[in-house]
């Protein structure tokens, strides 16, 4: 077993439960041991650094200090927003102004990894490939990355922020048909979901329209903010655009679980508002 630190982030315990459950299920078969940071706190998200810059760094600083206590060298983060905020804090703590912060993480800071990138590393892809017993043959998907795992690249250290490939690589290993499309990294407007739902509907509609146009039957994501925004609001967005959407939005971890034949898949997939089960059963990828 290889051990890694794990920072779940707040939504993994509620709206993104399917992401958390599928991730928990796939770890053991793949020989991964994710150790959750003890008593972690909120990363601050966009809201905190809209209001207080210093607080947003120091909120992450407390998490980094807790992480350092474990001495594990690498921390994986499923939520791209948390990933981004933690990376930004590491940058602040490694920069010239590091001494201006009251909370200090200590001399040792673990490497922070985005979960999709972590699974797309060549060695991990090999491990996943070796466990695929039920390839996702016939499933046409687009990978949707959103913003925070890639941008800004000086924070995320993304190699190709305009054309990320991590989920494409994972879905290919699982046997799905991955369709290239131009809106991989366009924003879904999740940050305006509660303030300006009309704007959000416009942005989400644009994404779904293009996904359908290129022939996708489902959208694969690694961001639970994107997932909530794309999965929950399809009726509203369809009303705004005057045409049906109906594209299931899947976490890549659920798809790893499905293709590796894990029994929990039906349960995670039952948590979606836009039900993916008819599509997957129709393709013979899900029993029942």
């Amino acid at each position: 077993m290889s051990a890694y630190l794990y920072y779940p982030g707040c939504s993994m315990t509620s709206s993104a439960r399917a992401y958390a459950e599928s991730l928990a299920a796939i770890c053991a078969p793949l020989g991964l041991d994710l150790e959750e940071i003890n008593d972690w706190n909120c990363c601050g998200a966009t809201a905190a650094h809209s209001v207080h810059h210093r607080a947003s760094i120091e909120l992450a600083g407390r998490n980094l200090r807790l992480a350092a206590e474990t001495r594990l060298p690498e921390m994986v983060v499923p939520c791209p927003m948390c990933f981004n905020r933690l990376k930004a804090a590491v940058r602040a703590y490694e920069g010239e102004g590091r001494n201006r912060y009251a909370v200090q993480p200590g001399p040792f800071i673990p490497r922070i990894s985005d979960l999709a990138n972590f699974f797309a590393a060549p060695e991990m892809l090999e491990r996943v490939k070796g466990k695929v017993i039920r390839p996702l043959t016939g499933l046409k998907v687009v990978s949707y990355y959103g913003c925070m795992a890639s941008r800004p690249p000086e924070v995320t250290e993304a190699r190709d922020p305009e054309n990320p490939r991590s989920m494409d690589a994972i879905m290919e290993v699982l046997g799905a048909e991955v369709i290239d499309w131009p809106y991989k990294t366009d924003c879904c407007g999740a940050s305006q979901q509660l303030s300006r739902p009309d704007m959000m509907a416009q942005l989400v509609g644009k994404l779904f329209d293009m996904a359908r146009k290129v022939g996708a039957e489902a959208v694969v994501v690694s961001c639970q903010m994107c997932h909530a925004n794309l999965d929950m609001r399809q009726e509203r967005v369809a009303a705004h655009w005057g045409r049906p959407l109906g594209l299931p939005v899947l976490y890549f971890t659920e798809m790893i679980g499905l293709a590796t034949g894990l029994p929990g898949a039906a349960s995670w997939l039952s948590r979606h508002i836009t039900d993916p089960r008819p599509l997957l059963s129709g393709l013979g990828l899900l029993d029942g």
Binding site: C42, H49, R62, H272
Partner: protein
């Protein structure tokens, strides 16, 4: 590192606002380097809803139009997607400047639509109370205050989230909450004196 275009011998009073915004931005904003090319507005998914495109807003900052800038909805409409930041040929830290302008507008009490600032504040309040975000409380408090008439429409979705066990009705409070509150209180104090 910080590049200033104003020579001390020839201060232009209009540029004082530009300097103020730049100085208030975490790190180096590079706002002075803007060449007004418009790549930011062209890359922006929400430009259509903005009072001013980022390019225009930065021209207004340079012109010293303090009040118009801080009343603009632009920083609040920004979705923080950072596309403009990746594409800006001058490496202006556009999204960071938007955060600066939001803070300045709140402090100057010039931004009048309270929906977005109060959402941020509610989020921060939740973190202060529990140490973690509390989605159910955040969403219901926000809708009750700002869009009570939309609540009936939201109910089926809320119910859908509940039945699919995707919403916790009770928040989780971290053990180190007192320590976290002390961190936040001190950060706020230092931010005000900085």
């Amino acid at each position: 590192m910080a590049t200033r275009v104003v020579s001390p011998a020839d201060p232009n009073p209009n540029l004082r606002f530009l300097e103020e915004v730049s100085a208030a931005t975490a790190g180096v904003s590079r706002l002075e380097m803007c060449i007004q090319c418009g790549t930011c507005g062209g890359s922006c998914p929400s430009a259509a809803d903005m009072d001013h495109t980022p390019r225009m807003l930065f021209a207004m900052v340079r012109a010293g139009l303090r009040e118009q800038v801080l009343r603009s909805n632009t920083p609040w409409i920004c979705v923080s997607c950072y596309h403009c930041v990746v594409r800006c040929p001058q490496d202006v830290h556009i999204a960071d400047v938007m955060y600066t302008l939001k803070s300045m507008a709140i402090r100057a009490r010039l931004y009048t639509d309270s929906t977005a600032p109060e959402f941020s504040q509610t989020f921060v309040d939740n973190v202060e109370n529990y140490g973690r975000s509390y989605e159910f409380g955040l969403a219901t408090r926000h809708y009750l205050k700002h869009f009570p008439l939309r609540l009936p429409n939201m109910a089926p979705m809320g119910l859908g989230m509940l039945t699919r066990k995707r919403m916790d009705i009770t928040p989780h409070r971290i053990d180190g909450i007192e320590q976290l509150r002390a961190i936040l209180a001190r950060a706020k104090e230092l931010e005000l004196t900085a």
